[in-house]
Structures are given as structure tokens and as C-alpha cells.
Amino acid sequence: MRMIVYKELREVAGIAAAALACYLALVVSLMGGRVFSFIPLMPSGTHAVPFTDSGFSTPFMFITAGFALALGFRQSAWEAVRGTYLFLLHRPVQRDWIFLIKLATGTAVLMLVGSVPIVAYAWWAAVPGHHPSPFQWAMTGSAWELLLGMPILYLGAFLSGLRPARWYGTRLLPLLGCLLLCVLRSELSETWFLALSVPLVLCGLLAGCVCHVARVRDYA
């Protein structure tokens, strides 16, 4: 099990590093740094109250969504393309376990890396003298909520990469479904209980779908 976690971490390290670099650029720009001002849509300056306008949330959402998609496809479709499922799945471990470990590792990486810009930007905003407006940690709530919904997108990408289909349109159906679920969830989750429990339930269902597809599909 430990070796599968190690393998997955090693394989997604590049994507995680790229996401981290994008987050770093975003946070540095929000802190007033002009290093990344040449990047389109990159916010600049410290004039907005942290986490209250779209300066952080819009780029954060796009970066995290891209990160989740890349992670999901890398962990599923890549193995199918390279034929390494034939090597991995012959290990004497239940197939469900192999895929659950993959999903747990991917989700953990997504959440850990995704939390870095929130913590970094909030920590910067919390230090007096950095920003001409009051700050409370509760202001980060919407960012956390956004991040908590991203595993749904990640699992949709994973399922799309794993599930065999005749053409790209039908292959991407799970991803499109998950995108729709993410939108619906953002409309529903008005309380912390819903913000936590709805993604958790949806992720559980999607993980079950992944295990089912992994069990029934052919690795030809």
C-alpha cells in the first residue's frame, strides 16, 4: 500500500508543482508583487478587502479546477495509455484497494496544495500593516468551500479517464456530470454542514463508481 502511495505521489509531483507555482503567482500578485503582472487576468495590488471580491476566488477557482482535472486524468488515463495498468493490477492487492489508494492520494494532494494559497494569503492579510482593512479568518470561508467542492471535479476527471468509451463526447460525460454537480452544490451549500456533507456524499458515490468501473472494465 505504502508503495502505491509513493508511486502516486511521485507521478503527480510535477502537476502539483505546476499548480503550486500558479498559486504562488496569484498570492504574490495579490500581495502587491508585480513579478507576474504580465499574466492575463492576474490580479494586482492590495486595494480589495482579502477574500471578499473575485480578485482571489476567480483565479483560484480556475487554477484549482485545472489542477483537479490534470490530476484526475494523470492518475487514470495516463496508466491506460502507457499500459502500466497491466503491471500495477497484477500486484496481489484487491483492485478496489489499488483504486481507493489512488483516489485518496490524489484527493489529499489536491486539498493540501489547494490550501497553500488560502493559508498564505490569509496569513499575510492577518498580519497587521500588510493591508488597510480588517481581517477575520472567517473571511476565508468561501475559499475553503470552493476548495472542498473540487474533489468532485477531480473524481469526475478520474472517472472519465478510466471509463472506456467509443468517442471523446461520451468519455467526458462523467466529467460534465460532475461539473454540473459542482454548480448545484455551490447553490445548495449555505451552511457549513451542507458545504461539508454534500461534497462528502457525492465523493463517496463517485469513488464507488470508480471502483465499479475499475472492476468491470477490460484492460486490453
Binding site: T84, L86, P92, V93
Partner: protein, 320 residues
């Protein structure tokens, strides 16, 4: 448990095409079984079904007495599977691949892997992505042998390897065979390889296992008969077991499955000047046997070939 591999009416469809058709295969423990067939004959799909990577549409397969569909990790640990093309993680070094693999097998023998890597002259520090095809095949074999498996299932293991590397690989396989009671099933295109190591062969044609017998029996069952007439060769009436017929000047070259008394009678009825029976090697026998369209081959399973070269347990499907 007498059989390491047993399949019963194993069938697989890809769309409207039946790629494996009612396959009944038994590989006794300790046997080296070569599965032959042309491209698209269904060998690879069969091997993948045995490894549990492809689900059959009908029928069942058992490995070491356990159904493949519900193979427990403990039984899987006793089976090695080398997939076609030797897929491995290219970012790993050989040392990392060894560490990754043996972590799954508590009884794995790191010394055996070290010996094999030494034998192949492979350094643990080398990246798998930078190895040649042959070296990758060698690493795959070393990894497969690490847990000292009882059964090895190899899908065209020498595909794409040059002659020297293939020879090396086969010699390693022979050494493995000589270790206690291992069963090996391997599919191959290279008839010479099969002839060197297999003690039993199966020939698949369009998804059907047409031949299942000892390699020697197969070679002896397919015979070329050169019939010299010294004049315009007459037409030969349809004869059971006739695979192909070629006219060269004043003679006819006939290829038969078997060549028994009834077939000899049919040939002698044409009043030839001479009849010469030529023994074929496995490759020639295979080519002659498989090049005829499948529909033209009549099935007769379990019956001895005319001429008595095949036991009741063996099976060579003759031609109509």
C-alpha cells in the same frame, strides 16, 4: 490440483467479432505451454483473460485451482504475468522498480532478483525509461521471478527483441523451467522460440484452439507429400486432412494433417511415379496449418489424427 490452468468454454466478443471462441484449455502443472497463432488469432486476449485483465463474455478460467474472476491476492502472489511490451514505470530506476515490486510479496527473494540483474548485467541505478526493449524485457522477467511464482503467464515476451537478446531471454527461461515444478504459458510469434522451450503447443486460429498437443506431435502430424508423376499431374479428389496443394511442373506438393492409409490410397490411386514424405519443422508445420482460411478447416476435437500420431488427450483439427 493437476492443472495449473484450466479454461472451460472461455469466450470473448469484441463488438460483433468473436475473438476467443469456446476455449477449453488445460495446462498441467510443470508444463511449458506455447500458445501460437497469427496476428489477431486471439492469443493476447486469451492471455489477458487468464491474467484477469479482460473479462470473458462466457465461460470461466481457473488458475492454480481458483476462478480468475475471484482470484484472491494470495493466489495472485503465486502467479507471474508479463504483459506484452513489458509495461513498467519509466520514471523508476531498476532499483526503485525492484523495491516497488517486492514490497507486495512478503516471501520475495531479493537475492534472486540481484542474481538475475547481475546475470543480465543491469545496474540498479539505471532508469527504466532509458533501457532498450531487450533490457526492459529482462527487468520484467527479473521482477516477475522475484516472488518465486509457481505459474508464469507471458504474453509474447520476446516480441520486438533482436536475436541475441531473444536467445538470452530464452536461456533465462530455460533456467527457470529447470527450477522446481514451474508451469509456464507463453504466447509467441517466434516458432523457433516455442520449439526450443515448449513441451506442449496450442495453435489458435480465428479464436478457436485448433491444436493442443505436444510440440513433437504437431510437427509429425503435419506432413508434406511430394508426388512425382513424370507427366501432367492429374487432379486429386477431395481427401480428408488435405491442407494445401501446389502443382510444380510434373509433380504435386500436398500438405496433410496426418497422412494415413486412406490418404495414401487416394494419392496412389493417381498412379504416381514416386511418393516422398517430407518431415516439417514446427515453423513450416505452423505456416502450412494456419494459412488456409479457418472456415475450410473442419473441427474434430479429442479424436486421434489418422495415422495414430496423436493421443486421445491431444487435439489436432484436420481439414475437410
Amino acid at each position: 490440483m493437476d492443472d495449473a490452468i484450466r479454461t472451460r468454454r472461455l469466450t470473448k466478443w469484441y463488438g460483433k467479432r468473436k475473438v476467443v471462441d469456446d476455449l477449453d484449455l488445460q495446462v498441467p502443472c510443470g508444463t511449458v505451454y506455447g500458445l501460437l497463432g497469427r496476428n489477431g488469432a486471439g492469443k493476447s486476449t486469451t492471455v489477458k483473460m487468464l491474467a484477469g485483465m479482460v473479462h470473458p463474455d462466457a465461460g470461466r478460467a481457473e488458475l492454480l485451482g481458483e476462478d480468475v474472476a475471484t482470484l484472491s491476492p494470495a493466489t495472485r502472489a503465486r502467479i507471474a504475468y508479463l504483459a506484452e511490451g513489458h509495461p513498467l514505470y519509466t520514471w523508476m530506476t531498476i532499483g526503485q522498480a525492484v523495491a516497488f515490486t517486492i514490497a507486495f510479496y512478503p516471501n520475495a527473494d531479493p537475492d534472486l532478483v540481484a542474481q538475475l540483474l547481475d546475470h543480465f548485467n543491469l545496474s540498479r541505478k539505471r532508469k527504466i525509461g532509458r533501457l532498450s526493449k531487450g533490457q526492459r524485457a529482462q527487468v520484467s522477467l527479473a521482477l516477475a521471478l522475484a516472488p518465486d511464482p509457481e505459474l508464469l503467464i507471458l504474453d509474447d515476451p520476446t516480441l520486438g527483441l533482436d536475436t541475441n537478446v531473444r536467445r538470452d531471454f530464452l536461456e533465462s527461461m530455460i533456467q527457470i523451467i529447470q527450477r522446481r515444478g514451474r508451469t509456464i504459458l507463453f504466447s509467441s510469434h517466434v516458432l523457433g522460440d516455442v520449439e526450443r522451450v515448449a513441451d506442449r503447443v496450442g495453435v489458435m486460429i480465428d479464436g478457436v484452439l485448433r491444436v493442443d498437443c505436444p510440440a513433437e506431435h504437431f510437427k509429425h502430424a503435419v506432413r508434406k507429400v511430394i508426388v512425382e508423376f513424370g507427366r501432367e499431374p492429374p487432379e486429386l479428389a477431395p481427401v480428408e486432412g488435405l491442407l494445401s496443394e501446389q502443382r510444380i511442373g510434373t509433380r504435386r506438393e500436398l500438405v496433410f494433417v496426418g497422412f494415413d492409409a486412406s490418404q495414401r490410397e487416394a494419392v496412389e490411386a493417381l498412379s504416381p511415379k514416386s511418393i516422398e514424405i517430407v518431415e516439417m519443422n514446427l515453423e513450416d508445420a505452423f505456416i502450412e496449418y494456419t494459412r488456409r482460411p479457418q472456415r475450410a478447416l473442419a473441427r474434430f476435437g479429442g479424436n486421434p489424427v489418422h495415422g495414430g500420431t496423436v493421443d486421445a488427450d491431444d487435439r489436432v483439427q484436420g481439414a475437410a
